[in-house]
């Protein structure tokens, strides 16, 4: 750190007001001190950087998500492959704020959010309950991940390395525990090569970014190129558009929701089920018998039985709420009905069959 950094800290000390984003060093106790998000006039907006979205997001109990990236000065992300996470420079801070739209009674509404209109679009806090802001920080020692939990008034979020369970109720009267992950649970997903202790972002993959069009009709990935936030000579190949109803849409959904563990290196590589968008149909569980699924098998013989979603394990686990059965293992308490329907439609339309099984 140079003298300028010291002066910045000194300024912080005097005024207790944030200056630039805190890209290194201890995590501040308050999210406002991290200085990446601005809360003013009933909105949340990037204080430094820009907002982004994913065409195929991770499902988190229907929570609305507002995502931002703050790049270090002059820094840009680079493309590894179309289907792998962008490589961000040291100093990058990525945030994801989780909020629920609320009805008058305080019950949360399980409805889809408005799509992000532009990289500078703010997030309206009107009628919402802020839950947490998860932060990924790329320090010189690597990526660090932690969540900040918002107070009930939604005026400040506090460093929450131990996470929390927050009891919520849907408008339909369904009670559910909303999980704010602890630090290890952050790593549980973001350590995409299990055993390396190296975390990385999961969401921002070129194909997923490019599958979203902003309000002006332009591709999000092109906007990144125009903003020189990504150094890429070629455009990204967008993943299948949401709502297209094709197998490719199910593949994108499975990648976004499952592939951080279900890859050749992830925590679930022990199962031999590969749900990356680049996987083969066999890798994706076609006629694959369960190994360590336990109750997760639901009495079904195969992960994916072509033409028979009702006999396939994959939609069973996506459709369950018991922690010992459900997939993903962590990060949701409700069922993503639309996601289950998509996966079932994909399996229904699949050609072929699996053998009926026997035993001794």
């Amino acid at each position: 750190m140079k003298t300028a950094g010291l002066l910045a800290l000194l300024a912080l000390l005097v005024g207790c007001g944030p200056s630039g984003p805190v890209r290194e060093g201890p995590w501040p106790e308050r999210l406002s001190e991290l200085a990446v998000l601005a809360q003013e006039n009933g909105t949340l907006a990037p204080r430094a950087g820009f907002a982004y979205t994913l065409a195929h997001p991770l499902f988190s109990d229907y929570a609305w998500k507002y995502r931002t990236i703050s790049l270090p000065e002059g820094g840009a992300a680079s493309v590894v492959t179309n289907d792998d996470t962008l490589a961000f420079p040291v100093g990058t801070i990525i945030t994801k704020t989780f909020a629920f739209p609320q009805g008058a009674s305080g019950a949360v509404r399980t409805v889809a959010a408005e799509p992000l209109a532009s990289p500078s679009a703010a997030f309206s806090l009107e009628g919402t309950r802020l839950m947490e802001t998860r932060v990924l920080r790329h320090t010189a020692a690597g990526w660090e991940a932690v969540s900040y939990q918002w107070n009930e008034a939604g005026t400040e979020a506090f460093y929450a390395p131990a996470g929390a369970l927050v009891a919520l109720t849907t408008e339909g009267g369904e009670r559910f525990p909303y999980l704010i992950p602890d630090k290890n649970q952050c790593a549980g997903c973001h350590e995409t090569a299990m055993g390396t202790k190296i975390l990385k972002p999961i969401g921002p993959k070129p194909g997923n970014l490019a599958a979203h069009a902003f309000a002006d009709g332009g591709s999000q990935f092109e906007a990144w190129r125009d903003g020189e936030w990504v150094a890429a000579a070629a455009p990204a190949t967008p993943w299948a558009a949401p709502g297209s109803g094709m197998a490719a849409e199910a593949h994108a959904y499975l990648d976004a929701n499952c592939a951080h563990c279900h890859s050749d290196t992830g925590a679930a590589d022990t199962a031999g089920l590969d749900l990356r968008i680049t996987a083969s149909e066999l890798g994706r569980g076609r006629c694959k018998t369960p190994v360590a699924a336990g109750r997760g098998s639901g009495g079904r013989a195969y992960d994916v039985w072509p033409g028979r979603p009702e006999a396939s394990i994959l939609p069973f686990r996506l459709g369950h709420r018991d922690p010992g059965i459900m997939m993903p293992e962590l990060g949701r308490s409700l069922v993503h009905e639309e996601g289950v329907a998509l996966v079932e439609a994909w399996i229904s339309a699949m050609d072929g069959d699996c053998a009926a099984s026997l035993s001794l």
Partner: protein
């Protein structure tokens, strides 16, 4: 940045925190204190669990290398997950050189203790239990190391798992000894693993006592070289309560020791008493009738040696349609104690299973590949001996 600057930054940082004020510190209950101790543990440190009964609504996890997690005893420091709302296991360990000692994990919604990609793991005097008896709604695994190198599980207790009480998967260099394992579907299961010693365990009232399996469609295959010896394996006749679809759901109730498709297995000097199906079963994955698309997988068990076991009471009520049909057709009060299904690879030379000095209860080769047409009770298929396998050397852990 030089040392003085680092110091200055540190001082300023501390001043900053105190000036702006942190979040108020709420009083911590012991469960929350344990969670935070695990999250902030330093490498090489010991985290202690006090005596007491602590309840949790979500998983615990440990991700720091070299940590010892130590309780006051497996009936004194109890971590209770009956009210668990989130997390697929009670305790998840994702770190190397970890020792777990002297505590219990009860009624986890999924697995009790999962240890993923560990090295030099020690589990000593730990209890995992589902307290409502054997039920298909119990979690799958009690003690569950997977993809580990160096595993010692000793003096522990595993009760009630709907898959396996102690399950070591896709690992190498394994010692499982002096444990008490009861009322699980599989008592102890060594799966897709290499070099394991399973000895001096007491394995009773499970569906299958000790299983050594090699299964397809997994990243780690070629399971081999396991010794199962000096165990007490008795009345593992509990009806199979595994959720359907799981491979252990195919294990017949009353299987003492079962080998499925593994190679280089030595089963010796065990006491195997009262099993309604068989004292020792050796089968190929092909017997399950499940499809096999995995070109890297070898479904044939090979070099199996079964000797000097003390076997009593076996095969009197086999929990298997073809075996029951065989017993009826042969008009036997009980099937032989050692059963091999008879699947062999086409290029196989010599016997697959050697069995000798196991008492008077006999053997049968089933001829399963030909629809059980010509079962051989003569013992000819088993008439051979093999050299003893070497013991497992664990390095520092023992």
């Amino acid at each position: 940045m030089n040392a003085a600057q680092r110091w200055l930054v540190g001082v300023l940082g501390a001043a900053l925190l105190s000036a702006c004020g942190g979040a108020p510190e709420p009083a911590k209950d012991p469960a929350q204190a344990l969670r935070e101790a695990l999250l902030s543990a330093e490498p090489g440190s010991t985290v202690t669990i006090p005596e007491g009964h602590f309840t949790f609504d979500r998983s615990l996890s440990l991700g720091v290398n070299g940590v010892t997690l130590k309780g006051a005893g497996q009936d004194k420091s109890v971590l209770d997950f009956a009210g668990q709302l989130a997390g697929a296991e009670g305790l998840l360990v994702a770190a190397e050189d970890v020792t777990l000692e002297g505590f219990a994990v009860l009624d986890a919604k999924g697995d009790a203790i999962k240890m993923n990609q560990c090295k030099n793991l020690v589990v000593r005097g730990v209890r995992t239990e589902w307290t409502g008896g054997p039920k298909s709604t119990n979690g799958a695994y009690g003690l569950y190391p997977v993809q580990c190198d160096g595993v010692l599980i000793e003096d522990s207790i595993a009760i009630g798992a709907s898959d396996a009480g102690i399950y070591v998967g896709q690992s190498t260099n394994i010692v499982v000894r002096r444990n008490q394992v009861a009322f699980n579907v599989a008592g102890i299961e060594i799966e897709n693993s290499t070099q394991a010693d399973v000895y001096e365990n007491t394995v009773v009232d499970n569906t299958g006592g000790i299983l050594v399996f090699d299964l397809p469609d997994l990243p780690v295959q070629g399971g081999r070289q396991t010794r199962v010896f000096h165990n007490t394996v008795a009345h593992n006749n509990t009806a199979n309560f595994a959720p359907e679809g799981n491979i252990v759901g195919t294990v017949p109730a009353g299987s003492g020791i079962m080998v499925n498709s593994n190679d280089d297995i030595e089963i010796f000097e065990n006491t195997i008493t009262d099993h309604q199906t068989a004292a020792v079963l050796v089968v190929s994955y092909l017997i399950t009738g499940r499809p096999l698309d995995d070109p890297n997988y070898d479904p044939f068990p090979e070099q199996i040696s079964i000797h000097h076991n003390t076997i009593e009471k076996s095969g009197y009520d086999p929990d298997s349609e073809p075996l029951m049909a065989l017993k009826t057709a042969a008009q036997l009060p009980a099937l032989p104690a050692i059963i091999w299904d008879g699947f062999v690879r086409s290029e196989q030379e010599g016997p697959v299973v050697c069995a000798h000095d196991n008492g008077e209860l006999g053997t049968v080769a089933l001829d399963a590949p030909n629809g059980f047409a010509a079962p051989d009770f003569s013992g000819a298929a088993f008439a051979c001996t093999r050299e003893a396998l070497p013991p497992v050397a664990l390095g520092g852990a023992e």
